[in-house]
């Protein structure tokens, strides 16, 4: 947030205006800000803060849900970092997934959004078609579907054979390919990012393009001088959001591969969930959750700090 710069003058304004009427006071940003954000703060304090604090506390306990937690200090973290190979396997699998799926998904979404932004009757239909894969979400039906598609006698191999590649790979059975079935699923469901890009593209004032047309700009200049800079807030949002989503990805791994084979597709969150509920180590699961928050939080913070280098805001 860029509030640091403005804090100075803001304070003096408040001091100088001590004599303001209530109505005037209400109309300062300092007060109005809280009025608008109040809803979030109330909700956060009533539904989130206690559960969050509790889960943070559990991270330092041995807790099996069924009986009272017992304080064990940093034991969970020590176990995690030094004595749990599966923890690192799941961390690696998730990193791999994030590194490949996030950029691919965003680029796919952006390209398709640019194709579909033009106003034509058909583009409405196309938008719907491209969005459809995303609405199926990650239900059990998708799990079956995906397993069957990538089966050794499935449609992916048949298609490869049809174009002359003699392929009988058991995609889901190899440690090097199984994770890719999940990455492809993520890329296939690019609809939500596409929708946000479309909304972002629609917000770019036409007048800018009109000016560019008058100046005789070619499509490339238009894209790099107007579309891309104006779209950076949306790109920024999508990037942060996909990053968080990528790390929090759960269902794909949980219902499609269950981590198979050899934990190569065991997502961090799945292992965390297994620890918390299946292995009755809620304390350990919470420690994992907060470690992930530190990692994702740090990445998010870096991106936020980098904003003034590449994100362009109108205001």
């Amino acid at each position: 947030m860029s509030d640091k710069k403005k804090k100075g003058p803001q304070r003096t304004v408040i001091l100088r205006k001590r004599e303001m009427t209530l109505a005037q006071k209400m109309n300062t940003q300092a007060v109005a800000g809280y009025v608008f954000v109040a809803l979030f703060i109330i909700g956060f304090l009533s539904f989130m803060i206690i559960p969050m604090a509790m889960s943070f506390g559990f991270a330092f306990t041995r807790y099996n849900i069924l009986s009272a937690p017992r304080f064990i200090g940093l034991e969970n973290f020590k176990e995690m970092f030094t004595n749990d190979p599966v923890f690192w396997q799941s961390f690696k699998a998730t990193m791999y997934y994030v590194v490949f799926s996030v950029p691919m998904r965003l680029i796919m979404a952006l390209v398709i959004a640019l194709l579909l932004v033009r106003k034509s009757k058909a583009s409405g239909v196309y938008r719907a078609l491209f969005y459809l894969p995303s609405i199926v979400g990650s239900s059990v039906a998708v799990a079956i579907l995906w397993r069957r598609m990538f089966a050794s006698d499935g449609v992916i191999n048949s298609m490869l054979q049809a174009v002359g590649i003699n392929c009988e790979i058991a995609w889901l059975g190899r440690t090097d390919t199984a994770i890719w079935t999940l990455i492809i699923l993520a890329v296939w469901q690019f609809g939500s990012s596409m929708l946000i890009f479309l909304a972002g593209l629609k917000q770019i004032p036409v007048s800018l393009y009109e000016v560019a047309d008058v100046e005789g700009a070619n499509p490339f200049t238009r894209f790099f001088k107007i579309t891309l800079p104006m779209l950076t807030p949306t790109i920024f949002f999508n990037l942060i959001n996909q990053l968080i989503n990528g790390f929090m990805a759960f269902t794909q791994s949980y219902i499609i591969t269950q981590g198979r084979p050899r934990n190569s597709t065991l997502f961090y969150t799945v292992y965390m969930y297994q620890n918390s509920f299946t292995y009755n180590k809620m304390g350990y699961g919470c420690a994992m959750a907060w470690f992930m928050i530190v990692i994702v939080g740090a990445l998010t913070l870096i991106l936020f700090k980098s904003q003034n280098k590449w994100v362009y805001y109108e205001s």
Binding site: F150, S152, A170, R260, Y279, N280
Partner: protein, 423 residues
Amino acid sequence: MKKFIAIILIVAIAVGTVFAGGSKEEAADDGKITLNLYWWGNQIRNDVTQKAVELYMEQNPNIVIRTEFADWSGYWDRLSATAAGGNMPDIVQMDYSYLNQYQQNGLLADLTPFIEDGTIDVTNVPESIIASGSVDGRCYALSLGSNAPVMVYDPAITEAAGVTIPDQLTFDQLYEIGETIYEKTGVRTYFDGGINMMQILARSYGSHIFDELAAGDETTMLKHWTNVKRFNDSEASISPDLLSEKNPDIVETKPIVDGTTWNDFSYSNQFIAIVNAAGRPLAMSMYPMPDDAVEQPMFLKPSQFFSIAETSAHKEEAAKFLDWFTNSVECNEILMAERGIPISTAVAEAIMPLVDENTQAIFEYIDAVGAIATPIDAPDPAGKGEIEAIGKTTAEDVRYNTYTPEEATADYVSRAHSILQSQ
């Protein structure tokens, strides 16, 4: 703005309705006792259980039973939440692998007094079945049906290969038959590398797997991983990547279903589901055992239990319902052994002629196992879930040749040992 106000009003009304919907439960049934009954299952189980419950409420007008059901994994998430919140349903379905944890944490009511005073009539129930739901001599869970480990096979394929499968194979026989079948038909063999096979193997030598793991004893595990390796290296066996792709953990994707293998390993109560998924007749044989076995490893296992929550305000009424569920022929005519063969011999006999041929096959199988079975291992320790999961990856490590059986043994035993130590 007007639109906005209109929306807010609509929402307010809607929220009101939701509130009303949420809080109307108890008001109507004055003087009646409400029992909450919670189970996991599929469409058939949900339907038949609900029907049985309705019959019970008809016969006992002072009892209202509110049913809740979920899928398997959701069931345990929610049950632990209710346990943490102190509002567990009065009667809960229980599994052998969770029994120990819930009992140890004092969440289950002791059923022994109800059995002793006859509220739950067990005159027709074998002693071993009551024992299977008992911890330290007190009964905390009443079995709803008997179950046994089973090797399912495709009789059409074995016939085509000219082999016959006896009631119980030895490992060597299984290996040889597998080779013959592959030679004659091209169909492959599956060898179970999971916790059930470990259990059977340990029992064959008069030992118990979790005792060994708790003591850090490698004897059985070395034999087990050597077996897994031996079968995996056989040309006749399903390849590890295909096995991982098929995933034998889920009934419908078991490699026997689409004929990739001629055999699979499971529990007898899954037999019908496997047959349905395969869409062709299948047969049952007992789990194979080592050639030098000193003891019969086969055992009967409760398919699932009903337990009463320690927090329940109506334990007596809940116990009466369990009695009816166990002993009423009328009730079991509705249930039709869906949860496993009824534990009351009288009820089982009455139901037998009514069930379809696959269920009858299970009846016969359970009878055959019951005749030779040795007592089941003590309820699983709390670390079982994690040990089982590590076992699955270790089996993959052996099959993908990352580990030799010796390495697998050392790694697996030490990890299982430390898990059991930390419980």
